[in-house]
Symmetry: C2
Subunit: 413 residues, 2 copies
């Protein structure tokens, strides 16, 4: 990651190394400037108050995975350096969704859904952030200011940009040139995100590399409203455990923050060698100079380190032992985990039927018996209700279904 | 005008002739359709309730001239056919102006200014509209609904159009192609105007031919909100008394609705021959088949007809006599009115100084004496204060300055 960034890591003083670790780009970035408006390093060195570090969250209810944890970990690095993490819950944005109904992504949620999702999100990132030290964390909701915007203010926001500037945004430009419709309301979302930075008086905004345009809009709006513009700190997107595509729940190549220790450990100890270094850089604090040289050892260390962050070191160690037992059947002899393809299964499917379809049980009634007898686990968690239903393969791909100590399959698409 | 319209006047039944008279375009217009959604004529013939005819007004305080009176006269034609004129005062639009400060035209006005301007406007159009018959006139203010729009609703409005559709608007397209900035907030104004039609449930919107895009946006928004789309009735822009440019106060080629009878009559009896027919069509009810053949007679008839509308027939007749006296000095012998160029005058200029600069008085002190003696008139109105000041030539161009019965000059640029 460091190679692709726009600053030289070795030029960053040790005390700020955690803040800059794994970052793709900081902007603006004038390496030799000591103007705190041109260089984040200068700002960090000269500030006489905690900086306000913004991270925006869509409370759309997705399960958070390790890819999402990267900017949250970065917030923590700023917290540890004495700054204030500002976790912005986009509740207003989620409440209105895409009022035109044109976007599948921006589904309209009820107030109760948004609230529940926000709470779930906060629970999931609790192991990463410092919730306890006074002044280190602010949780805000953008309905506080966006619900109050009237037409006059919205005209003012829109008036800060030209059509040409907005169409320069990646995505818009391409669609417009190809003659695909770009709807006018889409132009408001970057301005809403930018206005969040105004309302929060953000000093730094974190985001994936795809967020650069929106962060720049925030800078312009802050300037328009007489504030010092924020810095953007762009973070890389994490590749999934398949080593080829962005980590994503729908691709089944993800590790969820709430997975149990065994599941988390098992997925991480299989991360492809080519990703190990990135995973260490983005998901741990371990010095990249002292990683185990043996790739198999490195995988195990990574799995231990990350699992330990979310479940504690003891649980991570136990997961390591369980994983060995699971795969080696306690015999000390490694076996490949057999795969079972879900293509033959008709969804929605109850778990007893699913189990009966695998080689693990001889029939559906055998499956019911095994479940009632307490012998069945899905990704390490006991299954006690034979009628638990799965809507589709997405809920199952990548999980290990197990009967007793020795019989298991990995469910694949 | 009729030649340029998109319908055949002779196909319009006599009872609707007043509504269609002088119109540039009606849309949609399927001449042979009896679908009331495709043909305004069918709508007029089939409706079982008064139609709602919208005319939007910017209460920016300009003096209303005959050019502005054309759509107001059209409102009256609809009133006379039993329909409801809906005069929409754009108070909200004027109150917020252009919040970016980029537009000179959209100056931000105070609530008091807007109120005063609206009242002035209403006073000026009072001679044209039917204010008395119950149900024939509705005066509305768009703050009633625009002030209540929140971000969610505004996203919905914006989401009804694509960038491509909006950039097709004349003016936007050209500026964008030439690389001149088109600011995003400009996209909201047509949608605001369109939403006015939604709120008013307009059946027909009147406007100059330059308003066609905005009226079409109104149709789309009405459809979006489940209403029957309005018809657009586009009216020609009136050429000024110079016969070459659009009537406009700043060009000095206008006739104000509040001008005194003599001034109004004097300007109209000089309308170029080429415009006479258009003026009769757009500003009077007189049958175009029975206009005086003698051009000089036609000018006088036009001046009498229009002056009579605003001041009554007796005052118009008196104005005709006064005009003859003024120009012929009561001698029955026509004289050309000498012109006096204002280029030699330093502005701001007090009236006594202005008068002293003309050949009408021998000096400034002579001018003061003449004013105090009650001998001085400007466009037929007595000047009694020698210290009345004029900021620039725009306030004077085209007016007649007069001392006694026989000495006068027409002020020119």
């Amino acid at each position: 990651m460091t190679e692709a960034s726009n600053f030289v890591m070795s030029a960053i003083p040790e005390e700020f190394a955690g803040i800059y670790r794994g970052v793709s780009e900081v902007f603006p970035h004038q390496p030799d400037s000591d103007d705190p408006n041109e260089s984040l390093l200068a700002r960090l060195q000269q500030t006489d108050r905690p900086l306000r570090i913004k991270l925006g969250i869509d409370p759309t209810g997705s399960e958070i995975h390790l890819g999402h944890s990267i900017p949250v970990r970065k917030l923590r690095a700023f917290q540890d350096a004495g700054h204030t993490a500002v976790l912005l819950i986009g509740d207003f944005t989620a409440r209105i969704g895409d009022p035109t109904g044109k976007s599948e992504v921006r589904k309209q949620l009820t107030e109760a859904e948004v609230k529940a999702n926000a709470e779930t999100y906060i629970e999931q990132v609790r192991p990463i952030l410092d919730f306890d030290t006074p002044g280190r964390l602010e949780i805000r909701y953008n309905s506080e200011w966006l619900a109050k915007l009237d037409l006059g203010k919205i005209l003012e926001l829109l008036g800060t940009m030209t059509v040409g500037q907005m169409l320069a945004k990646e995505g818009f430009a391409k669609r417009y040139e190809q003659g695909n419709p770009v709807y006018l309301h889409e132009f408001l979302y970057p301005l809403m995100q930018g206005f969040d930075s105004v309302a929060l008086k953000a000093d730094v905004e974190l985001g994936g590399t795809d967020q650069k345009f929106n962060v720049a809009v925030g800078r312009d709006l802050q300037r328009h409203f007489g504030l010092t513009p924020q810095f953007g700190m762009m973070l890389p997107l994490l590749l999934g455990t398949d080593g080829s595509q962005k980590m994503s729940k729908s691709l089944g190549n993800y590790v969820g923050l709430q997975e149990d220790p065994l599941s988390m450990y098992s997925k991480l100890e299989k991360v492809p060698d080519a990703l190990i270094s990135d995973y260490f850089e983005l998901l741990t604090k371990r010095s990249l100079d002292s990683l185990p040289e043996n790739p198999r050892q490195a995988q195990k260390q990574l799995a231990l380190d990350v699992t330990g962050q979310f479940h504690g070191e003891a649980a991570a160690q136990q997961a390591q032992k369980d994983a060995i037992n699971l795969v080696q059947g306690g015999s000390g002899q490694a076996e490949a985990v057999p795969e079972f393809s879900l293509t033959a299964v008709n969804f929605p499917a109850k778990v007893f039927y699913l189990l009966g379809a695998t080689p693990l049980c001889s029939s559906s009634s055998d499956a019911r018996r095994q479940i009632k007898g307490g012998a069945v686990k899905l990704d390490g968690e006991k299954v006690s209700d034979p009628n638990v239903e799965f809507a589709g393969p997405d809920e199952l791909v990548g999980k290990v279904l197990q009967v007793g100590k020795k019989k298991f399959v990995r469910l694949v698409a």
